[in-house]
């Protein structure tokens, strides 16, 4: 018999987890979904963001405040990464996907090693007063450890989406994905637009990192376990669909929570890929992507 409180709590937990997944996937939705750069180092950048937040939290700062402080340095880091990527590949006549994958794979290894050297290999976590307590609403018991980071997802995604859809520079970012040459004719430098977009994507990593380290402890190699899920979210949402990535992440979160509650938690890692396969079979361009 299905207990209503277990069902309700599973669904809410799934929504919260999905929202955290969406934060993790946002940067990839920009770099891979919009710019078509297969930045598989993004989950590792998220972990680097978590360590940035951890460092500032040692001085008594709240993780969210620490993440806001990290936006600028991570934006600059993203710009620097794109300049490197662009000089290595794009100026030499276009980036081969395999070469790009190799570059970002190597980058993620370098970041992991630097984090391990700098912070050691042990788990790091943040201590905040709200971690460990829960909000009780009738049958629902919602851990603040999930609730607070989950709220970051829609806020950040909403802000990025508003920027991309309501500002000229945001429109330029979306345009560069479709027709780079037309952007040049309009007098804009596509490389500059991409650099800015890559900076924004990397800046989201520090906020996602704050969410990640609030949910649970983090170690330098934690990004490896997120790669599959975040790619599934971006691809299934439809390349470049920012709100779609939130919706898909929540669907995956709920599905994982229900599978964990009613079937077997061991099956939950396969949920994202099962949904991906099913979704792509029904709609190859992604559930929220435009047909091209």
């Amino acid at each position: 018999m299905i207990s209503i409180d277990i069902l309700l709590n599973a669904v809410v937990t799934g929504i919260l987890l999905g929202s955290v997944y969406a934060s993790l996937a946002l940067g990839l939705a920009i770099t891979f979904g919009i710019l078509h750069i297969p930045n598989i180092a993004h989950p590792t950048l998220v972990v680097a963001g978590a360590f940035f937040v951890y460092t500032l939290s040692q001085w008594g700062l709240d993780p969210i405040v620490a993440a806001l402080i990290g936006l600028v340095p991570f934006y600059i880091l993203g710009v620097a990464l794109y300049i490197f990527y662009s000089r290595v590949f794009e100026r030499r006549g276009g980036a081969n996907v395999l070469q790009s994958l190799t570059l970002f794979f190597g980058l993620s290894l370098v970041i992991e090693i630097l984090l391990a050297l700098g912070f050691g290999s042990e788990l790091k976590s943040v201590s905040v007063s709200y971690i460990g307590s829960s909000l009780k609403l009738g049958l629902l018991t919602i851990p603040y450890r999930l609730l607070i980071p989950a709220l970051l997802g829609p806020v950040m995604i909403g802000a990025v989406w508003l920027y991309l859809s309501r500002t000229n520079s945001g429109t330029a970012i979306r345009a560069v994905a479709h027709e780079e040459r037309a952007l040049s004719i309009a007098g804009l430098n596509p490389a500059s637009v991409k650099r800015h977009a890559f900076g924004i994507a990397t800046a989201t990593a520090v906020v996602a990192g704050a969410a990640l380290i609030m949910v649970g402890p983090v170690e330098p190699f934690a990004g490896r376990f997120q790669i599959g899920r975040v790619f599934a979210i971006v691809v299934l949402a439809g390349m470049g669909s920012i709100p779609g990535s939130l919706a898909i992440a929540v669907i995956i979160g709920i599905a994982e929570a229900l599978v964990s509650s009613y079937l077997n938690p061991s099956w939950s890692p396969g949920v994202a890929f099962a949904i991906l396969l099913l979704g792509l079979a029904l709609r190859p361009q992604g559930l929220f992507g435009a047909a091209r």
């Binding site: 207990s3 409180d5 277990i6 709590n9 599973a10 937990t13 987890l17 992991e112 090693i113 391990a116 050691g120 290999s121 042990e122 788990l123 790091k124 976590s125 201590s127 971690i131 460990g132 307590s133 829960s134 018991t141 851990p143 603040y144 450890r145 999930l146 949910v215 649970g216 402890p217 170690e219 330098p220 190699f221 934690a222 376990f225 929570a257 964990s260 509650s261 077997n264 938690p265 061991s266 939950s268 890692p269």
Partner: protein, 423 residues
């Protein structure tokens, strides 16, 4: 002067013999001077890198042995490689250690997950190996030249956590829940635990595994509560251990639960002890060494007096209770086997360890036929009286009270769990 072909061949043979002679004549001396090579893979990077503090144990042992004149008059040399915490790297590393580096003694990688791939190779090549924390690592291969440095045994697959179930039985527990990570060690611990629970007539009301790196256990904790157990046995890894302990605090657990924990990896390490602090109160968990009066000896104290400053300098776990002493013990076992058998022949070394007990910094160790310790020595400790997040408090007795085995016991179980948690 002209030489015939025959004369030339004679001259060439004589020259070759003259050149080769020193090598044959001096070969005995050279072999005596050649260091004894001890090979191991260590997880310096990757998810298991928190175990790399074990390397300090190896190095302290090597330095001690060499300072005392080596083994059989030969210097001891460590040959180590980083396996990156990946089982895929292990077979190639051990092939190189044996075939290229010509190691005389092998130490296994850390834990069951990484040790499993090397066991068929060790068995096939009939090599001598000291196992490093691979639970039930030799239960399948049953290789007679494999010995555990950690206190696994006897019958470690089944009885590794028997102490937890003995304590539960002592509390009159009839219903138990078991959860475990989908990894070799946790699966073995949970499987053995389930067998012991059945042996003691306990009903297993919830028995489920979960994938590694699960971050939220709220659904599972609710399902456990629905089963109304009186004991909860958990076999988890560090990140999950943290999430489970926090999940229990967030969701709550029934007052009927008398004992909680068992085989949670993580609360043995300084990083988790410090980060979770008082949230660990009441937990009953496995350990290999704690600074309780029944375990403190001059030898182990001397080890930690040297380990701690090195660990602090290297930025690894400054407590180092769980792993590093047993890496030193591995060296002591190898040294005993070599000096006792006066040989580096695998068969002779293994025969010596099977026939003799060895004095180590962790006490006297004797082995059964598959290299398990003959005496059950995994500790079940209860964490108590933890205040704040200061790591130094864990160096004092009374915070990790030994409940089992009876020979090392320093206190009785405080329960039920919710009461012990709040104290």
């Amino acid at each position: 002067m002209m030489k015939t072909r025959r004369e030339f061949h004679k001259l060439a043979a004589a020259t070759a013999a003259a050149l080769a002679a020193p090598a044959f004549v001096g070969s005995k001396v050279f072999a005596q001077d050649k260091p004894i090579r001890v090979g191991a893979s260590v997880s310096l990077t990757g998810p298991l890198a928190s175990t790399k503090n074990g390397l300090i144990g190896y190095e302290l042992w090597r330095d001690d042995v060499n300072a005392a004149g080596g083994l059989l008059g030969r210097k001891v040399e460590l040959v180590t490689y980083d396996d990156q915490s990946s089982a895929a790297n292990v077979p190639a590393i051990y092939s190189k250690l044996v075939d290229v580096d010509a190691c005389d003694v092998l130490f296994s990688p850390y834990g069951a997950n990484l040790s499993a791939p090397v066991m068929p190779f060790i068995k096939q090549r009939d090599l001598f190996m000291i196992g490093m924390f691979g639970l039930a690592g030799n239960d399948v291969a049953k290789h007679d030249k494999f010995f555990h440095s950690g206190p696994w045994g006897p019958n470690s697959g089944r009885d590794w956590a028997r102490g937890f179930f003995d304590l539960a039985k002592g509390q009159g527990v009839k219903k138990i829940a078991i959860i475990n990570a989908d990894l070799e060690f946790s699966k073995n611990a949970a499987k053995g635990g389930a067998e012991v629970a059945k042996e003691y007539g306990m009903e297993i009301v919830f028995n489920q595994s979960y994938p590694p790196n699960t971050t939220d256990f709220s659904s599972m904790i609710r399902n456990i509560n629905a089963g109304d157990p009186e004991a909860i046995f958990i076999a988890s890894y560090p990140a999950d251990s943290t999430a489970i302990i926090r999940g229990v605090k967030e969701i709550g657990i029934s007052d009927k639960v008398k004992i909680f924990g068992g085989a949670m990896v993580g609360p043995q390490y300084g990083a988790l002890l410090s980060s979770l602090g008082p949230e660990l109160n009441g937990l009953v968990n496995s350990h290999t060494f704690v600074p309780e009066p029944t375990m403190q000896t001059p030898a182990i104290k001397g080890f930690f007096d040297r380990y701690t400053p090195i660990a602090v300098k290297q930025g690894v776990d400054p407590l180092g209770y769980y792993i590093p002493p047993f890496y030193y013990v591995a060296g002591q076992l190898a040294a005993a086997a070599i000096t006792g058998s006066k040989s580096v022949d695998p068969a002779k070394m293994a025969a010596f360890l099977h026939a003799n007990s060895v004095d180590t910094i962790a006490g006297k160790i004797a082995f059964n036929e598959i290299g398990d310790w003959k005496e059950r020595r995994v500790l079940m400790v209860q964490l108590r009286g933890i205040k704040g997040n200061d790591l130094e408090q864990f160096r004092n007795p009374g915070h990790q009270v030994i409940l089992d085995p009876p020979s090392l016991k320093t206190g009785d179980l405080a329960g039920p769990y919710n009461k012990a948690r709040a104290s």
